[in-house]
Amino acid sequence: MTAGREEPEVPDLDGRPHIEVRGLTMAYGDFVLMRDVSFTVRRGDIFFIIGGSGSGKSTLLRHMIGLAEPAAGEVRIGGEPITGAPPDVKDRLLRRMGILYQSGGLWSSMTLAENVTVPLEEFTDLGREEIRKLVSLKLALVGLRGLEEHYPSELSGGMQRRAGLARALALDPEILLFDEPSAGLDPITSRRLDELIRELRDSLGATVVIVSHELPSIFGIGTNCVFLDAESRTVRATGHPAELRDRTGDPVLRRFLTRGEDSMPEGCR
């Protein structure tokens, strides 16, 4: 992407592993949701976690950010395990990640500017003026210039999602995680969000992990994916989404990636 002049600021996208999930077993009490989940997210990937409803995609994401502890296995961020890490290590690792929650997760009692300000105030020692400038930059990056003083409730769903993204970007994360970023958005808004995600990945050199079952997004910007299967309770396939669709011999995966002929979009169960 940045051919020609070598630029020190873009992290190498040479495929070194950034997030490694090894033999992860996720369980609620005795109920095992997924077992032996293993995959690797490389630096600069736009990595999709896909699978039918109830297959544990969001739970996997929660494990990857250390919000839930696995029954077995581990997750490594840049080689450092986040599973079972002491709270201070976990906090340090989490500060390198920006997370966008399903419905934006904005704090409704704060304006957009205040929402983005909070992480900067909490975790940097920058002055008020610098923070103000950073906040206005982040909001501009996601196309919300001039809406600093608006409250989340005054925005459309797509704008709320963008504002959530601005907050996720606040601390210049090297990993961006999205939980169903385009759920409930119209196709055009959803596509713009995809383009924004790709643009941010390219310019920030960040690694992106997305939980989604929006096929246009998966084929549009995905560089790698893992398919979780609710039936067999484990990983069914990993690889480049379009290649998986065209080459897989697995009928379940094929049906999912082609939306089936007669079944519902999530009808893989």
């Binding site: 020190p8 009692s109 610098e130 210039r145």
Partner: protein, 385 residues
């Protein structure tokens, strides 16, 4: 990547270099979390300090830049702003590619001017006006709410109101049985306090036996119902408001309405019924506990015997007092339930709205109870009850 060995110790540095009217900004070192940016220096040079001619063009050189984050972008944006003010051309090609792309991205969507907002604090006259209008609207909503609750009650009497019996049973349990511990504690302590305050005064006349009258009449006529009402406002009224408000946020109430099920019948009516049914019972219970509190002081502190105290209490308290108190309790129950449900249904669709609704429900409930208590005093006095 290969240049990290040239990282300037001590973080970021800016070197300025004016050549042929072009101000070259050398970005040096690790440009991360840079506090106050060196924009002043750039400004000074742009203005043409130290006898040098003002620059006509600004360019960047990032060859010695080891790393950067968003603070570099805010600095460059500052430079761009200053240059735009002075009509100075800027050559961005020297910036790192990623930074350049991000700057373009930030400029790509125009500022949403039409979305400009009213200033944070409008003039006082505006605010008074807004508050007045808001109060009027809220009062009208309250009246409308009471009206439709009454209609729903009418349908209930006609046997046409729809709600789930199991909901009502659960509400009765939540507002009745589960409130017993707190009512026990508060009422017992209230009886204790009344007896103690009375005893100090009555002891001077050697009339300590009248503590039983004081506590008995006060608890049964008013205090039992009042304190139970206030406890229920804080407990059940708040719960009603919080639940209905969050149901509004999650569109559960819309779902009911669109199915042709009246939220008024389905949600509000059972809550009012439950509280209206439980409050008299809780009031009676509170009366009893208050008298027990008085008895505790009477026998423990004032050397009154158990039978003496009980006899004095039963003589002093008439059936009329008891019935009056219980009726007041039922009325407070309706007030608390209506206040809770009203504020819940009025809530804004946000988590802050849920909080406001809950606060407002408790305040409204307590104010309504106290006002009603005053009104009852007056009516009972006029009717010589």
């Amino acid at each position: 990547m290969a240049r990290t060995e040239r990282t300037a110790p001590g973080g970021a540095r800016l070197e300025l270099d004016l050549r042929d009217g072009t101000l070259l900004l050398h970005l040096v070192g690790e440009w991360r979390r840079v506090g106050p940016s060196p924009i002043r220096e750039v400004e000074r040079r742009l203005a043409g300090a130290e006898g040098a001619p003002p620059a006509s063009c600004v360019a960047f050189d990032a060859s010695a830049l080891a790393g950067w984050d968003s603070t570099l972008l805010t600095f460059v944006r500052d430079v761009l702003d200053r240059c735009a003010e002075r009509d100075v051309a800027v050559e961005k090609s020297g910036l790192p590619g990623g930074a350049r792309r991000l700057l373009d991205l930030a400029e790509s969507v125009p500022e949403q001017r039409d979305a400009g907002r009213a200033p944070r604090s409008p003039p006082i006259v505006d605010r008074i006006g807004e508050i007045t209008i808001e109060t009027g609207r809220s009062a009208a909503e309250g009246i409308e709410f009471v009206g439709s609750a009454t209609l729903a009650f009418g349908r209930l009497l006609g046997g046409r109101a729809r709600f789930r019996g199991s909901d009502l049973v659960l509400l009765v349990q939540q507002t009745g049985a589960e409130a017993l511990p707190i009512v026990t504690l508060v009422s017992f302590l209230l009886g204790l306090i009344l007896a103690f305050v009375g005893a100090v005064q009555l002891e001077r006349f050697g009339a300590t036996i009248y503590v039983a009258d004081l506590v008995g009449i006060a608890m049964v006529r008013d205090m039992g119902a009042l304190i139970t009402g206030i406890v229920m406002a804080g407990r059940s009224g708040a719960a009603f408001a919080a639940q209905l408000a969050s149901m509004k946020v999650t569109q559960e109430i819309d779902a009911l309405a669109t199915m042709g099920i009246s939220p008024m019948e389905y949600l509000v009516l059972p809550r009012i019924l439950a509280l209206c049914a439980m409050m008299p019972i809780l009031t009676l219970y509170s009366d009893l506990l208050g008298i027990l509190g008085g008895l505790f002081i009477g026998t423990g502190l004032l050397d009154l015997s158990f039978t003496e105290y009980v006899q004095q209490t039963t003589d002093a308290v008439g059936v009329g007092d008891l019935v009056g108190g219980v009726l007041k309790g039922a009325a407070y129950g309706v007030l608390v339930a209506v206040a809770g449900c009203l504020r819940g249904m009025q809530a804004e669709r946000s988590s802050a709205g849920v909080g406001k609704a809950t606060t407002s429900a408790v305040v409204t409930g307590i104010v309504a109870i106290i006002a009603a208590c005053g009104l009852f005093q007056f009516v009972f006095y006029v009717l010589e009850l």
